[in-house]
Each structure stands twice: as structure tokens, then as C-alpha cells.
């Protein structure tokens, strides 16, 4: 039975940052990373970027750590191993192979998985997801041959937007089929979405809204999709970007508190002793937003990996970060700060000029801003992060916030 002082489930940005932080502070401790992927730490962010998917930059640029990094830092990388059970009383993690590992402190940085598409025909080659490096490799291989002519994309958010541009760049016809009424709903407002949709349509993307695919057609390979209304769209590739799920099944017997993710406090400690969580899988108590949230982005995962590791080392550090991410496509850049969810307790302010394409939505709860989405207004992203972070009372500033010429920085406490 293997034994580690610090055991980490998940080899992505959260888990690897945690391992690095633990190693720096505790040079002698045994550290192990269990990953269900065979690869060392790679950049998940890069997977949907054009230069990478189209092979314009070296494939090896995806690696964030070389294989030898693990040995040099005496971090055991246990790749291609899936955790199947946790017993926090005996401190034993069980793997699918039947192996068991004991630990003193455990970090669950296991991330989220692509939601599996459960319609007839979805298992055919040519149906793609994009969450892991293996998914990206399959897309790269499929595009490399240059034989694909027509793609159907399902879902409407960051990755759909970025991959749609990539496909158009190489001349693949794209039909976007979405349940939503507008692209990127509810992440963007309908007004912001119209800007994005115009770029999609101008670049030849056909948008079919308010419907869904009920079957992937074809004999052994993708030949088309069947829509709910009985119509058929011919295609040779399908991209099933239908969201993500946190696989919680394997944790149920541990009796850890779960709520679509792993529930944690502001120290990223879970309901079980000596078990922490970080990254996309964590539903943590956000002290800046005064809410329990899950944030699926790189910056959030990196910072959580560091904070969780410090708390595993015995410190008492709260996780405090207004996270953000950006998405790019068709010459547009869209930034998201804080909590972008639509909810009954929120009101919305709009900033900028839709016609110019530089337009954003500010999400207000009570007297403060909790989130912002900025279409082509990226320079303001950092200021929104700070306004959210400081909980600036903007209740008397709604008019100013909606004036695109008003300097947002003057609302900051230091100004």
C-alpha cells in the first residue's frame, strides 16, 4: 500500500500548483498526484485556441510541466489512475485497479468532466468533446486530413465560440444548434449576444435556436443529425459542447458534503477532516460574493490550489479572489469577471454602445456589483474585478456606470 503525507487527486492547474506549494514549504514530505489522465500537467486553456488546434504552434507547447519535473521535485505522478472510493476515517483512497493509497492530508482537485451526450448515435467517431488533451488530439487528427466539410455544433458558450472560428478558418461549414434562444445564454445578455451572433453569421455560421438534436445519424461514422422537429442536417463532424459535470458518484460513500460539486468553506476545507478541495470541482464559500459558488476558470483554480496547499500545511488562509476569464473569436474579445449568473436578486446595468460592438453588462446585487461581462471592453475588466473585490457601494452611481465615457477607476476606494 502506497503512502503519502500529501495526496492530491487531479493533475491540472489546481492540483499541480498545490503540489508545487507543498514542496516549497515542506522539502521532505512525500507528495503524490493521482490523475485519471496519462499526461503530465498541460494547459487546458490552450486546447481551444486556433494556433494549437490547427497545428500552427508546436504540439509540445501544451505542456506546463515536463515529465522530469515530477522526479526532480520528488512528486510521485500516478497517471491513468481513477479514484473510486474514499474513506476519510481510515484515510484510504481506493483506485479502479484495486490499489489503495493512504494519506495524512488529501486534496480533491479532480475538476469536472464533459457531460456525456446520451442520444442515439452519440458514440460515433466524429462526435467530439473538448475538455481533455485526448479530446483535442481527436479534433486535431480529424481536421488534419482536410476532408471534413460540414460541422454541427451543440451548445453556446466559450468553447463553441472559439472552435466555431477555428472551423471557419479552415473552411468547414458550421451550423450551430442550440436549445437557447440566443447564443451564450445566460452567460451573456441578449443584447451582448446580438453582437456575438452578428459576427458568427457574418462569418458564415448558420444559427438554429430553441431546438435540440435527438439523434446522430450515419453508418459507422457521422453523416448528419436529426433535430427535434424531424429535420436533418447533413454533416461529418459534431461538437457536443453540452456542459460539464463533476463526477460525484465515487465520493458518495465517503459521506462528504456534495452539491453538484464538493462543498467547502472559505478555507477550502471540505466537510471531512484533513480533506480539502480546489479548482473547478469546489463549491466554496466565497467571502467576497457572500455566496457559495463554483468557478470554472484557470485563475481561480491556480489560486485555490495555492490556498488549499497552505491550509494543508497548517496555515489558516481564506480564499479571496474575484476570478475572471476571457474568450476570443472572430476578432472579438469577451471578458467575464466575478459571478455572472442570472438570478432573481440581481439587476443589470448596461455599458457602452451596441452598434460599436463594445458593450457590457454589469450585474448588481443590492448596493454592490457582483459580476460583469464585457464584450470588447477588456481594459475595464481589471477595474470591475476591483469594484467587486472592494464591495464598492454603487447604489448612487447607476447613471455613471452606464456612461461609457465615465472613468470607472474614480469609483475605486484609493481614488
Amino acid at each position: 500500500m502506497a503512502d503519502y503525507r500529501y495526496l492530491i487527486v487531479g493533475g491540472g492547474i489546481a492540483g499541480t500548483t498545490a503540489a508545487e506549494t507543498l514542496r516549497k514549504a515542506d522539502p521532505d514530505a512525500t507528495i503524490g498526484i493521482v490523475s485519471d489522465e496519462p499526461y503530465p500537467f498541460y494547459s487546458r486553456v490552450l486546447l481551444s485556441k486556433p494556433a494549437f488546434l490547427l497545428g500552427k504552434q508546436p504540439f509540445d507547447s501544451v505542456w506546463m510541466k515536463k515529465p522530469e519535473w515530477y522526479g526532480e521535485n520528488r512528486i510521485a505522478f500516478l497517471g491513468s489512475k481513477t479514484a473510486t472510493a474514499l474513506d476519510a476515517h481510515t484515510k484510504i483512497l481506493t483506485l479502479a485497479t484495486g490499489e489503495t493509497i493512504t494519506y495524512e492530508k488529501l486534496l480533491l482537485a479532480s475538476g469536472v468532466h464533459s457531460r456525456t451526450w446520451e442520444i442515439p448515435g452519440a458514440e460515433k467517431p466524429g462526435v467530439h468533446y473538448l475538455r481533455t488533451l485526448d479530446h483535442a488530439k481527436a479534433i486535431i487528427d480529424d481536421l488534419k486530413a482536410g476532408e471534413k466539410k460540414r460541422a454541427v455544433m451543440i451548445g453556446s458558450a466559450c468553447v463553441t465560440f472559439e472552435v466555431a472560428e477555428i472551423l471557419r478558418t479552415v473552411g468547414v461549414e458550421v451550423t450551430e444548434v442550440m436549445r437557447e434562444h440566443w447564443f451564450w445564454q445566460p452567460g451573456l445578455s441578449e443584447r451582448e449576444s446580438k453582437i456575438v451572433e452578428k459576427h458568427l453569421i457574418d462569418h458564415g455560421v448558420t444559427i438554429i435556436r430553441d431546438t435540440e438534436v435527438t439523434e446522430v445519424l450515419g453508418d459507422g461514422k457521422v453523416e448528419g443529425v436529426l433535430l427535434k422537429d424531424g429535420s436533418i442536417i447533413a454533416c461529418d463532424m459534431v461538437f457536443a459542447f453540452i456542459g460539464v459535470v463533476m463526477p460525484t458518484g465515487w465520493l458518495e460513500s465517503s459521506e462528504i458534503a456534495l452539491d453538484r460539486g464538493i462543498v467547502a468553506d472559505e478555507y477550502l476545507a471540505t466537510s471531512l477532516p484533513d480533506v480539502w478541495t480546489a479548482g473547478d470541482a469546489a463549491r466554496y464559500n466565497d467571502v467576497l460574493l457572500h455566496d457559495r459558488v463554483m468557478m470554472g476558470n484557470w485563475m481561480n483554480a491556480r489560486e485555490q490550489g495555492e490556498v488549499a496547499a497552505e491550509n494543508m500545511l497548517g496555515k489558516k488562509r481564506r480564499f479571496e479572489l474575484v476570478s475572471f476569464h476571457t474568450s476570443h473569436g472572430f476578432g472579438n474579445m469577451i471578458g467575464f469577471a466575478g459571478d455572472g449568473r442570472v438570478a432573481d436578486d440581481r439587476t443589470y446595468l448596461y455599458r457602452g454602445d451596441e452598434a460599436s460592438g463594445a458593450f457590457g453588462r454589469i450585474i448588481v446585487r443590492g448596493k454592490v456589483i457582483v459580476g460583469a461581462t464585457m464584450v470588447n471592453r477588456i481594459p475595464e475588466l481589471g477595474t470591475f474585478v476591483k469594484l467587486i473585490q472592494h464591495g464598492v457601494d454603487i447604489s448612487a452611481k447607476h447613471t455613471e456606470l452606464q456612461d461609457p465615457n465615465f472613468d470607472l477607476k474614480t469609483l475605486l476606494p484609493s481614488a
Binding site: 486553456v45 485556441k49 504552434q57 474579445m333
Partner: protein
Amino acid sequence: MANTQEYVRNKEGSKIGKIVVDRDLCIAAVSCIAVSEATYKLDDENKVVVTDANAADDETLIMSAESCPTKAILLFGTDGTQVFPK
């Protein structure tokens, strides 16, 4: 290296002498700007440029480079050796 931009740093007491941005790798994830707004900004092509190579201390600068999801920021010591990524 292909499309890189170099910025000389001569901050007193600093062990870092040069910041290099690989513009081909930069995807404008803007995590570096979040770490040090005083050091970086986006240019008209939505690529990161250094506005003040001496603004941040060494620790912040290393953190900004580490935060990049594509390793587009390289740091070199005053002796010319690569400090990040190692």
C-alpha cells in the same frame, strides 16, 4: 524565437534583468495583468506588452509569469540565465 518582444529591467536589487513576451503564445488570458497591472497591458492586437519593466518586485513578476496559461512570459536573470519557465 519567432515573434518575441524583449524588455530590459534594471530595477535596483532585482535578480531579474529581462522580461520576454512571446506574442505567438499570448492568448490574452490577461492573468498576468491581474497579477501586476503596473507591469503589463494589452496592445491593439490584444497581445500583452510590458509598460514598465521595473514596476513590480521579483516575486510579483515571477507570479505574473507563472499565472500565464500558455507560458508566454519568460524571465531572465541579470546574469542571462532563464529564471522562468525552468
